[in-house]
């Protein structure tokens, strides 16, 4: 039976083939899916740490995200069978008029690996879809991504739609994407903006995991 540390290391080293094989072996050896998930999350945390210390770069985050996504698909049936243990719900998407998803996927995967339940609405998401998803899921955090400058208008209309739907007070809003900065955040009316995936995870933790403060 492969050790959980080996899974963590394979992920931290971005060794796709090895990581997937080890996860499959562990599942076959009846290792609890939650423990495997925890090892993967530790691996992702290590990836994030290396990114912050500039030992890893955007291309590495992309790779780690893709490996994590595949492992997630392997673990999902097991995890579903035994109920959820996530620490909070987040609705996420690339806003209407924009279809950039590389950065969004990195953030979504990082959030998932930090134990958040993320409802990923994909790209070109209208304000109405964001609102109805927030209502249905009861999520209290909304993350919006956009790379085009025109995406800022969509972010702003989404925040306005939240207000109109009476959700704004209960939902924290974070935004991110290439050109996003403090002035964009103010223009959009979001609560916070994030420069990278690690930043987004910190914001989510502050909002959803009071003990992390």
């Amino acid at each position: 039976m492969p050790s959980l540390d080996a899974i963590k290391d394979a992920l931290a080293e971005l060794n796709e083939d090895l990581a997937l094989q080890l996860v499959k072996d562990a599942l076959a050896a009846k290792t609890p899916a939650f423990d495997i998930l925890q090892a993967c999350q530790d691996g992702m945390t290590e990836v994030g740490r290396r990114f912050e210390s500039q030992d890893y770069f955007v291309s590495d985050l992309m790779m780690s995200g893709e490996i994590f996504k595949q492992i997630g698909a392997l673990l999902e049936p097991e995890l579903k069978a035994s109920g959820s243990r996530t620490v909070g719900k987040i609705v996420f998407g690339t806003v209407k008029g924009d279809i950039h998803d590389i950065g969004k996927d990195i953030v979504v995967n990082m959030l998932k690996s930090s134990n958040f339940e993320v409802i990923d609405l994909g790209v070109d998401v209208s304000p109405e879809r964001f609102v109805s998803s927030l209502k249905e899921s009861g999520a209290t955090v909304l993350g919006m991504s956009g790379l085009l400058t025109l995406a800022f208008d969509s972010m702003k209309s989404t925040v306005q739609a939240l207000q109109a739907a009476g959700l704004r007070e209960h939902v924290k809003v974070m935004i991110g994407g290439g050109p996003v900065d403090g002035s964009v955040c103010a223009f959009v009316g979001a609560d916070e903006w994030g420069a990278d995936a690690q930043h987004a995870v910190r914001l989510a933790k502050n909002w959803l995991v009071p003990s992390s403060l």
Binding site: F57, S59, M62, E66, G97, D105, D124, T149
Partner: protein
Amino acid sequence: MDSTGAADCRVTFQPIGKRIVVKAGTSLLDAGRAVGLSISANCGGVGICGKCRVKVVSGKTSPPSRIEQAFLETENFGPNERLACEARVASSVVVELPPEFDANAQRLLVAGVADELICDPNVESHQIALTAPSLQDSRSHYMRVADALNAGVGSRDWTIQPAAAVQFSRIVQQSGWKLTAFSRGSELIGFSGPGSRAVGLAVDVGCTKIAAYLLDLQTGKQLASQGITNPQIPYGEDLITRLVFVARDNGQTELMANLVRDAINKLAANLCFQAKISTEEIAELCIVGNTAMTHLLLGLPVEQLLNAPFVSSIDRDIDMRASELALKSAPGANVHILPGIGGFIGADHVAMILAHGIDRSEKVTIGIDIGTNTEIVLHNSRTDAIVSTSVPSGPAFEGGHVRDGIRAASGAIEKAFFVDQVLEVRTIDNCAPLGICGSGIVDLLAELWRLNYIDERGHLLQRDQLVRSGKHGLEFLVVAAAQSGHGRDIVLTQHDITEIQLAKAAIHAGIVTLLEITNTGAAEVEEMVVAGAFGSYLDLRNSVAIGLLPYLPHASYLQIGNAAGTGARMALVSNTCRERARMIARKVTKVELKKHENFNRLLARATRFPAPRNKVPTL
């Protein structure tokens, strides 16, 4: 802010695309020198010669000094034109360099590989001899021409516009009633002196450059050709920025359209001068360009191009009068614009497919034109599937987003290779190196990979002193300050490498996705065709070594030059080719990569450098 309290200001020089951050109060001339631009200043920059005239497109500069004021008045300076030696930056600014600066600066590929052109143009020329009006023969000018043509080529209901009649009157005065008439169908579109041939202008409007070709419409013979930098660059280096500029302020539609129309007119005038004819003899034009460029040229709405799902306004072919676009030509000349495939896959892509005959090749062929957006076509001749896509590969291969990246201009490192542990570089025009252009970047990366300076993930390894700690992480020293043209080190940073990895991964993943969608195995591909300026100077083996292009074991890799320009020339002189272009536009299926869930995984994988490290197969 530094200790002197001066703020940092970013100065961007266009159209060359060079950027630098300087302290407020620095003169534009000093900023230019610091990035290695040789702005002429015969007096040495003390406000005497007036040679260093530049245009400030945006941002704040110091008010004109007294010295400068004198020049502004006597030398006919346009609005926002300044002396670079006197104007000091007060905020971040964009500066447009004068055209003289550009003339020798940027290497613009004009040539394309072309077979003999097949000519069946839609313009006919007729040599006619008329008699002057007299009391016995008081027919109108028009009737004289119509009767002569009816006798010569058969009876038609000849039509004519007033501008052509004006031209007729002028020419018969000069040539004594012997002249050449040009017709399209039954319209008399223009006149010229006796013995003139019908000529046409083919134009490829690119994001960076505009290439034009003057052709004899009857023989297809090329009379002259030239490329110039697209004058829209100061309003946005990449096409999205330019589209946003127009979308934000509708008044700019006209400005952007006029810039490119003026550039085409300038090219037409230069080419006609070389061919010793008048621009009034241009009887037909054919224009290709990417979707954004044709939209800006025609003044079409662009808002919908900027928002998902990114649809074009018109993607069928267009025929309109050149005069409606204020293009210099015969009075009734027609402009033909090739159709696009949809979205950002535009007429230049159709022209490339047409030029190389990818649509009817019996070989399984991939065609690719690398730019800020890279268009890829795959024709599987066995299943007759033909698919195209556009990937946003970014400006890295044009020197953008790379610290010491520059466009392919004098002083750009275009080749790099190690000889016995020593890095040798070759620059354009053999000048002292100023930066690295796309082909040099690919060479460098391939050498770094081959010699173990980077690992499979693209991380720099501190193998020897050439890899060192820079301001923002590790960097590889390419040329030391003592050998560079601007007295600063030229380096490739870890951040640069990441940018290039993302760009090459997008292209690679785009190609692999098309292979997957059409169920084509890599071993089935017989021809890999690389078009465009960057693609033509690129070292193909090094491109495969870094995984920019996939390794296709049974394919021959070909560089075909400016294929879009070749396609424009073919369609200029041939109605048959125009019909084929229409068929291509109908037949090609546009692929949205975002809809293929595998794409992001392929993309992540393609950021890696392909093993084996030092064994690149012979292509």
